[in-house]
């Protein structure tokens, strides 16, 4: 394989065209892109047909009509036939005089923020322990950590509802400690937040574990050798190294949490604790408001795009730094 070493070209003349890659041979300098494109093709086609197209359909529903006989929304595919009735209704619901969605948005932000911070505070120490100190029992801990994935989320929630009844076992323990008998299922924000944490924390723990496990222990030893205390080692070595896992973990917990509706439905049932997911679900299952539900969900999606871009950019930066 010969490579041309072009003489120093003057700034104005174009660079000589690169030698075409020999077919079937990986040259290292210019990979044959076609192969990779073909590899990614099935996924891309799938995405376009079964993800992009449905999204256009959501938009068409949002800008469409309602058939009063079949109680079903009618999609209007031609952009020129779109009516903005639903959009103005939704904006009115969020910002207008009788806004009822506005408070729900605030509730959602507060619940998700509290739930994510709490999840991180619980998941990180547990993941750290299993990654660094579990020793021979690592297998056992891993199996136990993964177990929640194997049983239906519904059943775990049902079991919780059962345990949280006013005369259930949780209150039996709680009053034994002397903390009284709170009405857990009486429509309270703390129950919903705890429910959110419970539902999403297994994913966070696994991601954190995978990331923390990869941290080279010799780096920590080096920190100690240089005279850092335990706390400083953690702060200056471990935490920065776990930045990427934390970021990924937050992505897969916070963003889905914003669309969650069943946690509130199961554990509270009170309109005072409704999240934006509940509003969307209520609208989508009410024929008259299905168009508004479509628009609201597109707005939520737009809001989610911001953090996502941040994640992608941050990840790219990390991968560039690593390679």
């Amino acid at each position: 394989m010969t490579t041309q070493a072009p003489p120093q070209p003057p700034a104005t003349s174009p660079a000589p065209p690169p030698k075409p890659a020999p077919r079937g041979k990986y040259t290292g300098a210019e990979p044959n892109k076609l192969f990779w494109i073909l590899l990614a093709a099935p996924g891309i086609i799938w995405l376009v047909i079964l993800f992009v197209v449905p999204f256009y359909a959501v938009l068409a529903i949002g800008e469409g009509k309602l058939n009063t006989q079949t109680h079903a929304p009618v999609a209007v595919y031609n952009p020129f036939g779109w009516s903005s009735a639903n959009l103005s209704n939704v904006l009115h619901d969020i910002f207008g005089a009788q806004a009822f969605v506005g408070p729900t948005v605030l509730t959602t932000i507060w619940y998700v923020a509290a739930a994510s911070i709490l999840s991180l505070l619980i998941a990180y120490p547990a993941a750290y322990f299993v990654a660094r100190f579990a020793g021979r029992r690592k297998g056992l801990f891993l199996v136990l950590l993964v177990a929640p994935f194997w049983i239906s989320y519904m059943m775990r929630m049902l079991a919780w509802i059962d345990l949280l009844q006013t005369n259930g076992y949780v209150n039996k323990v709680w009053s034994f400690i002397g903390l009284g008998s709170p009405n857990w299922l009486g429509g309270h924000s703390y129950t919903v937040i705890l429910g959110l944490v419970y539902g999403y924390i297994p994913y966070l723990i696994l991601v954190l574990y995978a990331g923390l496990d990869r941290i080279d222990p010799s780096l920590l030893e080096a920190g100690r050798d240089l005279g850092l205390s335990r706390v400083s080692t953690f702060w200056r070595v471990t935490l920065p190294l776990s930045r990427q896992p934390i970021l990924t973990g937050m992505l897969i917990t916070v963003l889905p949490m914003l669309g969650d509706f069943y946690t509130n439905q199961l554990l509270s049932g009170a309109p005072a604790t409704a999240m934006i997911g509940n509003v969307i679900q209520g609208q989508l299952t009410t024929p008259f408001a299905a168009g508004q539900g479509a628009i609201l969900s597109l707005i939520v999606l737009l809001v989610l795009i911001g953090p996502m871009i941040y994640y992608v950019v941050a990840t790219n930066r990390t991968s560039q730094a690593a390679s």
Partner: protein
């Protein structure tokens, strides 16, 4: 104008639409200046599509549905052999034992598919799914079903058991001549409460609908039903309005406002789990369906007697009452078996077996409350959940609304249930 009319949650007052008489009284110019808001229909006109002249069945306006282009099956056909009867029903609304005995009797298989809401069922049927029997159809859905030609007229020859049902149902107002439906269950909507945990007596109250729910001292222990007709109707009755099919925007707004006030006062919960929550004591006062509470005995925790559960329904019968129906779908591939199935469910013994499972009464003449108590299906303390023919005739029905009024109700309920 009622003092409560027109107040908005943000404290402003919006003048509601004036009635024709009031407009004339005030003079036309004054009316225009007063700025009655544009009617919802105008705003919605480009948004709603579909037929505009849909008959709305009422007790005072009985409807005989058309059967043109919709023929019933011929007489004297044999039931299909080796078939699987496809039944489309609510969740847990029929006793599996009853289904099994039907399958054994007619030598067929039965597959039950469930739906969660009537709208979901309507949507899936319109999208082309095929079933044989469509059960638990609410009366307000019959119009759209028949207009979309989704159900077929019944051939009465296959359904002799109709004679066992209450005579009212051979010519109900919502389906004169019982062309498309047979009755399935009959139920009232009332208030369930725990007599041992709450010291209230609804029988001694002037307006129990209001006084049982507006109880701040039981904050967090009060719930209403998750239904866009039932709960706003509750709010209407709290305000002494007994037309549960009102199309008045003012009244619907009032209902919404009342429910929001209730939420602020008692941290209201909204769910349909009255049948478990009242027996276990998780909720102390629940807006409830009679059938759910009739089955309370099977959900009582150990050591707690079912006597502590009470169910109140107005003694003068002025409360919500409804009946569900069974129909045969036009897409049925086993129509004869379908007819035999709906017939089977009206047999007295089969009905008793069914009631013992889901608690909901069926309007079979031979099944009186005394019979239910004797068969130990209904505890004596809960005979208030039983429905009598007189109740059906004088009760308030939540019936089919015109499309724009329906939209108002749905919107009002959405605001209440999903946001504060």
């Amino acid at each position: 104008m009622h003092p409560r009319e027109g107040w908005q949650p943000d404290g402003t007052r919006r003048v509601p639409d004036l009635s024709r008489r009031q407009a004339l009284k005030r003079g036309l110019a004054a009316t225009i200046l007063a700025g009655g808001g544009a009617s919802l229909l105008d705003a919605c006109a480009p948004y709603l599509v579909g037929p505009t002249n849909v008959p709305l069945p009422r007790p005072t306006n009985p409807v005989r549905w058309p059967t043109t282009d919709n023929a019933k099956i011929a007489d004297g056909l044999q039931p299909e052999t080796g078939a699987t009867l496809q039944v489309y029903n609510w969740v847990a609304y029929i006793n599996q034992a009853v289904v099994n005995s039907f399958a054994k009797k007619y030598n067929c298989k039965v597959q039950i598919t469930t739906f969660n809401t009537m709208d979901e069922a309507l949507s899936k049927l319109n999208s082309g799914l095929k079933f044989d029997v469509f059960m638990g159809v609410t009366v307000d859905t019959l119009g759209p079903l028949i207009a979309s030609k989704l159900i077929q007229p019944l051939n009465h020859r296959y359904i002799p058991n109709i004679t066992q049902a209450w005579p009212d149902f051979t010519n109900p107002f919502y389906d004169q001549g019982w062309q498309y439906t047979v009755p399935y269950t009959i139920y009232t909507t009332g208030i369930a409460w725990r007599k041992d945990l709450v010291d209230l007596n609804p029988y001694a109250m002037r307006n129990p609908w209001r006084e049982m729910f507006f109880q701040p001292r039981y904050r967090g222990k009060i719930a209403i039903l998750d239904d866009y007709r039932e709960s706003p109707s509750l709010a209407l009755m709290m305000n002494n309005i007994y037309n549960l099919n009102t199309t008045s925007r003012v009244q619907i707004d009032l209902a919404r406002q009342t429910l929001q006030d209730l939420d602020k006062a008692v941290n209201l919960r909204i769910d349909n789990n009255d049948y478990t929550e009242v027996p276990t004591g998780q909720t102390w006062i629940h807006h409830a369906w009679s059938g759910d509470m009739a089955a309370a005995a099977s959900y009582m925790p150990k050591g707690v007697n079912v006597d502590v559960v009470g169910y109140w329904f107005p003694t003068d019968g002025k409360g919500p009452i409804a009946n569900d129906t069974n129909t045969v779908l036009r897409s049925a591939s086993n129509p004869v078996l379908a007819h035999l199935f709906v017939n089977y469910l009206m047999d007295e013994n089969v009905a008793l077996n069914n009631i013992s499972y889901n608690g909901y009464m069926q309007p079979i003449t031979a099944i009186t409350p005394e019979v239910l108590v004797k068969e130990q299906i209904l505890p004596r303390s809960l005979t208030s959940t039983a429905v009598l023919p007189e109740d059906f005739r004088r009760g308030l029905g939540e019936l089919q609304l015109p499309a724009d009024a329906d939209a108002l109700w749905q919107q009002a309920w959405l605001v209440v249930s999903e946001g504060m």
